[in-house]
Symmetry: D2
């Protein structure tokens, strides 16, 4: 941490800041410059949360050097983390993992049909929503427990692992029982209560980036999971909210690439939620893998025109097949 | 809803879209233009979630006319909603409500001291965090239940109502018992599980805007509460995330003013979290009231230099007194 | 400047960075920390543009401490700058300056009518566009030179100074001759060619913030003018572009307040362009002054329903009168 | 255009709006809905700029259907536009065009060295800045005319076309004489004076997206050029400004893909300015091409550690070679 003093700061003001730092068992180093003095706080092993130092007279600005995350950083662990779902599916390894399925599980018939087809076309895992966090209380909210049961049954039958999104700590036991990997959705990325309790289940977690979360906030959400003793975290970039509204959320491949450098955790891309419309999904999926994503999660529906949720951004079997061929 | 067809759309494609709409018991009106045809969907009483129509050949774009929120709109209820906390404190009435107190309750002594002073200076309600949702797992997370008990005791003693933030449905009973108004924080604005279960307590709720929530998403979160039969919702604008990082979050008074036009719910401003540094708090507080806010929520600490949380953005007694005088 | 080394950086890598800094006649101070070494660059009198240091092996990050602007900073000049237009109109002094007039000058009759009325109601200066930079080539682009002549004539007649926006260096002589203050619009805030040549005219300049300019970029645009020997710069906050599109651009009062702290230059607010619709203008204008703005620039039209440009955000005489009364 | 009336709008108010539309020689179609009336404006052949209709009593909102751009749209011209620079280099055709070179031309020796090498490695065109628009007046601003002359000489010698950025209409003749393609930079994307005068030179133009320009504003800037009779426009996506500051500007591939659908103009990607640091450039370059970009513009320097400008984001010969091999 660097405390930048105003150019008008007196020696006494500088001394007071130094004294306050040293009172916290940290070391303060004066850096007298041509224009002003800065004070380096250098003994810390972790991030120092001392923004209140801004209240000291003469202080102009606080600049943080150490990142707040630690266990999630590549400095802490150099080699890539591999997150293994079963003997065939491993995130972070050479082969990208393709997760596919409908936005929402509508019925057993529908899910079985889609699951069979995406598996045959090459998907490694099934996705399907049972509990949907919807912006509007009037939108379809998923079929709940029934959906989880359908997912488990089909998944076992086809011998392919599955993932679904949890939205409430009231459902922890169900998710422990019915799914192979638990998704924490964008809207819940900073629902620390949920994150920590899901972490405790020790199942693999797919943590989606909040649509306006910074890289640091995203890695800190992962840090909550790692700190709870669960190393099986896969990150997911799904587009960020910007001023540009001509498509839904801009797929942030800059941050995906940066996370590969900064962190040892695997990270996949979600082109469907980023695009918001099916005709952008394939190019964005290809771009994600070209940038180095460890996998993709893609919405596929047997009949997007009649999907109960997110039909506008779902691939159909034909376009999904085309995607798989192009990868 | 308006479905805009491509200029190359054929009559058959237009007919298919019209047929699909009419199948959903809605009325479709063809609007042949100079360049292309648009199809108006006009029988709907509520928002129509038909973005999947984008999958029909020839469709270029979907434009929504009806807003997704309904109970929260001024079209639904013209007169201002008043949210009454006790016989003295009413949100939405002529007099702005001033809520003040520390970011976190640190001890009984500290809270008693601050509570006494802000009340004497003119605060209408006390605030204080017991459960803190922190971006970093290494930051101070609040003293929990003990904090709620301290708050209740001091609040009763000083005869002034209190508010605190809930972060988990595991704590519903405690909040029901100990506080007069429950805050749903920015990070949980789209935690619909929490929102709905808090709504069911029928206590007044302060709903803070997510730091990247659009006006529509914000009003839809309120809609969830209203739909659960709890009309006692006060909104809170607390700054939005933008490209500008020289202060913390930009206080969005445009949307505050617009919400006063669009909705009947009261809305207050939080200059402390927006500013992120104490020397911006007073001007932003004044601006908020000048724009028409129904109140303010402000962080005040007896010794910001040593606060365990958010010291950099807390007013001290002297500056809080100055704020009150200027209002 | 602080150069943060990776925790894996070797002594040799650190030495190389230090050597490179010292080669540039700067002083390097090693700051060995518990986790990694940082290197402080401390002899500089100005901003050091050495981001290329990122190419040295072992370097993790570059952190800037010194701001890039200098002449615009309050550290350079402590007292407020006053920008005097004539004996009555001074920006930065106690009394806020109210600038009013139509978006575009449409005819002599129209401008005379509006000018007379806003002056009578209390405006200090007239505004009116002659050359309009429009996003679309099909929008009304202003009546050009004729507009400037009308403005000068009416301005002289009513004895009230005037301001108009310049969009091309081809028009420098005209603006020198016809207007009292020259506006550099948001779209041209980073048109450094135009800025510098206008600065050379030595006339007072109203510099509008680019709709996505950071505070630092905004002050650096002012720095270009100051560096050209023209101290008569008034800044204008006019709303920034964010994810929120329910109103046009969010009036960024955080940055307005921060600029009052960081810089000695006067700054006014433009509620009309921020709001984008007339019914938000008055509350935002009041908020701007409450936050400490040194003035306002407001669009007023005699008949907004028939305005050739920006009618949706113009006040009419009645609402302008109401605004003046409320201030 | 759709004019949405309030649900309280009277028949008289609706009639007034209809009358006003018809006065403008447009056709108004009443769309009475379950909740409110909307009025469709349907006779227009172009975008209708009638936002001032918001001033009519009873009007709630204006919704635009027709896009403001026309000549740039694929509806206007279905087949891809090819922009030919010379017999070998064509933008928009199957083979992506690779433009490479230093951020700034520093000397003949430096430019010759880089040009020779990037050509040998496979670059199709040379880039190099002679006039640099810099955010800070204290940054290196380029060597000007001398730079253009060096570029021309080396370009002729190596028989490879060249591009450089123009920043002032004072330099039109020089750019006409010395370069093969003229770049309009991000900061000048809305400098309509410059755009139009450059368009008149009839040379091929590379138009970079403003860092906060929407797709519509970007295409409208191109529309200005097309409307001036110059069809040789290549667009360039170079990253947008968002809340995320961990890298410089987020490469917006969503909009790049959408522009390929919406417009017939070629569009390339600039991974260097987006990344802001060299270690992100290669993955972003690959992602850009995977998404369908018609080419790349990349900064390459013989010695990035000593570059006078943008060294932190330049590839060196070795990394550029690696990029070319991976494509």
């Amino acid at each position: 941490m660097l405390i930048v003093m105003k150019n008008t700061a007196t020696k006494r003001q500088i001394d007071e800041v130094v004294a306050a730092i040293e009172k916290s068992s940290l070391t303060a180093e004066r850096l007298p410059g041509a224009q002003r003095t800065a004070i380096g706080v250098i003994g810390n092993k972790e991030f120092v949360d001392q923004d209140r130092m801004l209240n000291f007279p003469g202080v102009k600005e606080i600049i943080h050097v150490t990142k707040k995350y630690k266990l999630a950083s590549r400095e802490y662990k150099q080699e890539n983390t591999l997150v293994r779902i079963d003997k065939n599916v491993v995130f972070g390894d050479k082969k990208p993992v393709i997760i596919a399925g409908p936005c929402a599980i509508e019925s057993k018939e529908q899910f079985a049909k889609i699951a069979k087809r995406v598996k045959d076309l090459g998907a490694d895992m099934l996705r399907g929503g049972a509990y949907k966090p919807r912006t509007s209380p009037y939108s379809f909210q998923g079929i709940g427990l029934e959906g989880l049961k359908i997912m488990r049954e089909i998944s076992d039958k086809l011998k392919i692992p599955c993932i679904s999104e949890i939205t409430s700590i009231a459902d922890l036991d169900l998710f422990k029982k019915y799914v192979d990997m638990i998704q924490i959705g964008s809207r819940n990325m900073q629902n620390y209560d949920l994150i920590q309790k899901v972490a405790d289940l020790k199942k693999p977690i797919l943590l989606k980036r909040g649509m306006s979360a910074t890289m640091e906030e995203f890695l800190l959400a992962a840090e909550y999971i790692l700190k709870h003793g669960n190393p099986n975290v896969v990150l997911c970039e799904r587009g960020i909210r910007t001023f540009e509204t001509s498509s839904r959320n801009i797929l942030d491949l800059n941050t995906l690439v940066l996370i590969k450098l900064e962190s040892h955790l695997p990270i996949i891309a979600d082109p469907s939620h980023s695009a918001g419309r099916f005709d952008l999904v394939i190019p964005l999926a290809k771009a994600g893998l070209a940038a180095g994503a460890d996998g993709l999660i893609v919405e596929v529906h047997n009949n997007p025109k009649e999907a109960l949720s997110d039909g506008e951004q779902s691939l159909n079997f034909k376009t999904f097949e085309s995607l798989i061929k192009q990868l």
